[in-house]
Symmetry: C2
């Protein structure tokens, strides 16, 4: 006699993240507990997203969780999974939304298989999910969401390293402006192809200081370090309404510094609740709705009960 | 009754260093125990170098130790010192020779005054000694010699940070070719004013990996990381005879990587004695005398008995 037993959902949680951190363009990212996604899987034939819940509506078709689950399953000998995406990270805000889904999807498959991939395998698979969303397999957000804390990624050679989990509070502030679906692509178009060598040296030095300050949980140094980018931020800030007004308000509130979170429009503030309030007020004065969260550095993707 | 008491020499020792470490151009430097300088001071009127000893003949006039001792003395309320430079670091080899003198000179004045300067004060004073030698106040070598271990320096804002003392053995190999007195200047002339953004990203990522690998004393990763510079090394290696042959020999010997030490012509090899022998043999086959040393990361400038 045969029983049809419905498989249980196996779920993983992965947090939002801020890529770049100023000078660490396309290399550094920090996972934080502003938001999180949960991705659940259960074994079946083929790969599909059958359920989307949470605060954000994302499509079941062409969901990056499918790409990621499929690649991870191939590595780990799983034939197929039914996927449930519980979406907590707002998409299109520079908070690593698709990266959180991708990281949670890889981890869920690992949990189902009872076997972990290497950092590089897991992150490169999750990065393929980014390619499905943005056209390029960026790995900074997925690396942060997958590993937690401060990470660095390089592509030639492909390497993923983690610098640990800083003991800090920061602020993530988000303007709720309309963003085009191709936002990340637009944010790349404003960047120059060439930079002065002395500006590259400034980025190299700033990156070293961001790493040092996060290793030491030194907020004052971190504030200075994230502001050292004189290549990316000056151009991308033009895509974020009232950026300079928000920056001024935030610094006046006593914050140590501020930079764009990923491709924006969210910002990462090296400050406290008062700085978050100042940012929201400044955006409101520009006629823009905004909100903020005080965040901690978040751990990597991990098992979680179904939502 | 008055006694004329000859003041005792107060001495400090500071080690050689390798700046850049591949992608960390003008930012990173590592102090190592390949060579060291000792600088001694005793209180008197005015500032002069009265004695030069050691393996290398440097001029008493216009010696960078005078510039540095004067600035440090002004900060610390000392009227004048007689200076003795004991020169162990070979000049003009990319091993931070003038930086070691400058770092030892600052530390000797601090010891005489019985009071330490802040990192930034000490290093910026020592960097003025570099200006006296090379025309620009570079702080990478002086920061490494003064603080020890792996350091990063930035100029805007001026910051000096230390990442600790890696537990590693590396190899420094030096070709004894004639170098022009303006070598560091020449080595800057071959650099481009503009670099591609993607190459800047490669330098940013490589810098993060160099830091990570030295924090973790991970030689394999360090070897990969120092080779990630695709901007500076490809141009400067042309100033070093037989660089590519030496690199090939070193990698064939099992080394993890190699890069130029500072502006060259010395190289820093992520390998062991066999790699050093391979480098020397390759240079010899090009008709160039060369030597190597197996080195450890060195501590910062410190008190030392007179030589």
């Amino acid at each position: 006699m045969a029983y049809a037993v419905k498989a249980l959902w196996i779920c993983a949680k992965a947090y939002s993240s801020s890529a770049n951190l100023g000078p660490g363009f396309d290399v550094l990212a920090l996972a934080h507990d502003a938001y999180y996604d949960i991705v659940c899987v259960r074994e079946t034939e083929g790969f599909k997203v059958s359920k989307v819940t949470g605060g954000w509506n994302v499509p079941k078709e062409n969901n990056n969780a499918i790409v990621v689950a499929k690649l991870a399953s191939e590595k780990l000998g799983i034939k197929g999974v039914d996927i449930w995406v519980h979406k907590g990270v707002p998409p299109g805000r520079g908070l690593g939304s698709s990266g959180a889904t991708a990281a949670a999807a890889v981890k869920a498959i690992e949990l189902l298989a009872g076997r972990a991939l290497s950092y590089e395998e897991a992150v490169s698979i999750a990065a393929e999910g980014e390619r499905a969303v943005s056209g390029t397999p960026h790995a900074d957000n997925v690396a942060a969401s997958y590993l937690g804390g401060l990470v660095a990624v390089t592509y030639s050679p492909f390497k993923v390293v983690k610098f640990g989990l800083p003991k800090i509070n920061l602020v993530v502030a988000t303007p709720w402006i309309d963003v085009p679906p191709s936002k990340t692509g637009e944010a790349r178009k404003v960047l120059p192809q060439l930079v002065e060598l002395k500006d590259a040296v400034q980025l190299i030095g700033g990156t070293a200081l961001v790493i040092k300050s996060l290793i030491e949980s030194d907020l004052e140094l971190l504030g200075k370090a994230v502001m050292m980018d004189n290549v990316i931020t000056p151009r991308r800030k033009k895509l974020i309404p009232c950026y300079d007004k928000v920056l001024e308000a935030v610094l006046s509130s006593g914050a140590y510094g501020m930079t764009i979170s990923g491709a924006g429009p969210s910002v990462l503030i090296i400050g406290n609740e008062r700085s978050g309030e100042a940012a929201v007020r400044a955006w409101n004065e520009c006629g823009i709705e905004a909100s903020f969260k005080v965040v901690k550095a978040a751990p990597g993707a991990r098992a979680h009960p179904p939502p």
